[in-house]
Symmetry: C2
Subunit: 333 residues, 2 copies
């Protein structure tokens, strides 16, 4: 609704429309025509919802796939170009089971030059976290169970609790310092291949003396208007991977490089903001590391789709601090 002026009288495509809620918002914002597309059977319900809200003349619900599929032939036919693409494509940790590939496909096939994509940008962040409560509940419990020493179960408890990433809601106070940008997605220019593997270095300086239990990942998305700020040279170099964060002249990794548009609306899933169904994604270490105030924690993270199971995400975390280093590979599934 804040971008109503860019939507009134325009043709819109809603990629993965689900119940049709965003398509109806666009129709209410004055869109001339909205193509609401979903490959799932929810499209039938969306069609009914559109009818029940007397918008069948504006919202065309299509049950089918955005991408061309040469084996199922279920791709939708849209015989015009569109002014606006809207989509709620984000998954856990931004990219888990994300529909961004469909957005890219729709963009390259139907979006007019100069058209609008909402959201327009997405940023994935990470930060070191402390979470003693979680650690005590999962691990320390076993030291004494009704007077029985059960420490033998701790390795097993650690595997159960911390081997794989977990989607949970933490609080702002669990976060030990400012987050680091893992990747930023420009929906106008991103290519499918860039999403297969995301690698970033990180460097944190703990603001507190506290046990480090692991790292949290979260994202925000921006809904910028069509006049995009020119991305600066270093930002482009950084995200294209030709310049490492170490080489970046303003490199701290902690602040976003791209100035925000004044028109931007931001949806944040950060621990300090209101909880969302995306929560945060946590990669815990098997053992906490006591951090001093100001202690540097650095390393890298690589997030990649598993080839044999493209919906699974591999998360490889390299860690160095205070002479300790390790690598942890876990799978969000």
């Amino acid at each position: 609704m804040q971008h109503q002026k860019f939507i009134t009288d325009k043709v819109v495509i809603d990629v993965g429309c689900g119940t049709g809620v965003l398509s109806i918002f666009c129709a209410r914002a004055g869109a001339r025509r909205v193509y609401a597309v979903d490959a799932s059977l929810i499209a039938n319900q969306a069609k009914q919802v559109v009818e029940d809200n007397n918008l069948s003349d504006k919202v065309i619900v299509l049950h089918g796939r955005i991408e061309v599929c040469y084996s199922c032939f279920l791709d939708v036919e849209i015989e015009e170009t569109v002014d606006v693409i809207i989509s709620e494509w984000m998954g856990y940790m931004l990219v888990y089971e994300s529909m961004l590939e469909s957005v890219i496909f729709a963009r390259d096939k139907w979006l007019k030059p100069g058209g609008l994509i909402l959201p327009s940008h997405a940023s994935l962040y990470m930060a070191p976290v402390t979470n003693s409560e979680r650690y005590h509940q999962s691990i320390d419990f076993w030291h004494n169970v009704y007077g029985i020493k059960m420490s033998a179960l701790i390795p097993f408890a650690k595997l159960t609790a911390f081997e794989e990433p977990s989607v949970e809601t933490i609080k702002g106070e669990n976060v030990l310092t400012w987050p680091s940008l893992v990747t930023e997605v420009d929906c106008y220019t991103v290519r499918v291949q860039e999403l297969k593997t995301i690698t970033a270095k990180y460097e944190f300086s703990s603001m507190l003396q506290a046990p480090l239990h692991g790292f949290a990942f979260w994202f925000d998305v921006e809904f910028n208007g069509p006049e995009l700020p020119v991305l600066n040279y270093y930002y482009n170099q950084l995200t294209s991977g030709s310049l490492s964060q170490d080489q970046h002249p303003h490199s701290s990794g902690h602040l976003r490089k791209r100035p925000k548009s004044e028109e931007a609306v931001i949806l944040s899933t950060a621990p300090e903001d209101a909880p969302t169904h995306w929560q945060q994604t946590l990669v815990y270490m098997f053992d906490p590391i006591q951090l001093e105030e100001g202690q540097i924690v650095e390393g890298s993270v690589t997030i990649s789709q598993r080839e044999e199971h493209s919906r699974f995400l591999n998360i490889r975390l390299e860690f160095n601090s205070g002479g300790r280093s390790f690598e942890k590979v876990s799978v969000l599934r």
Copy 2:
């Protein structure tokens, strides 16, 4: 510990020992020897726990199956009879993924005549419940979503929320009247075949005027001493199925027929008692039925293991009240 006098100097088998906690309790209660048996790899941890608590001379951890298995030959060898069987065999709704069959096998193979089984008896109950909060959250939400009429999604929301049984914790105030006994298990006499299908009639008189949203199931188990009360004739007839509740001379279905032993210790998972990890199992109806105070709700329930998937439970519920009747089949999986 309350039955310590029956355990001191005795030989015990712990069926499905898990971490070994019950075996260690028995050793501390003075058992001469405890066979702690588990088919899962947790047996390795249990062995270490026993060592760490200096009980290796009393507790013998065996990794293997209680039942004879002619294909895997992983059944355990215990070369003596035992005085006591202990087991934490209960699953959700008592019988879901229960290990009672292993207890029966162990009883018939190793328990001395006059030996003790703990728990000795189990009772499964059901009661009608009202839960408007749950219904509103799952269903009424869709009437108006940010000003959009989304009632078309209600059939889908009902399927998602109420098609299958759910394991959740309700409160005593959700329960509309006294529970009805679905089945009672006497661990000394129960046979495997009796567990395959459990059928019971029920009849409730609502104590409140309230919407009926479904039925809750829960259980308790009793730890009776070895001197069992003689079960009365009608109770035996009732549970063996040769006499329906309608024919029962004192039939209300609401009160247990078997007098409790004075020595009984009871573990209850009822909504009015402290929550446990078993919670309660709820079978919701797709639509609430407004009950008047004193209105009779009657019908029957059949709980059966699915042949193709023996860990799944089929729950068939027949319902009659105020001229309305229906049947609902759902699967706890």
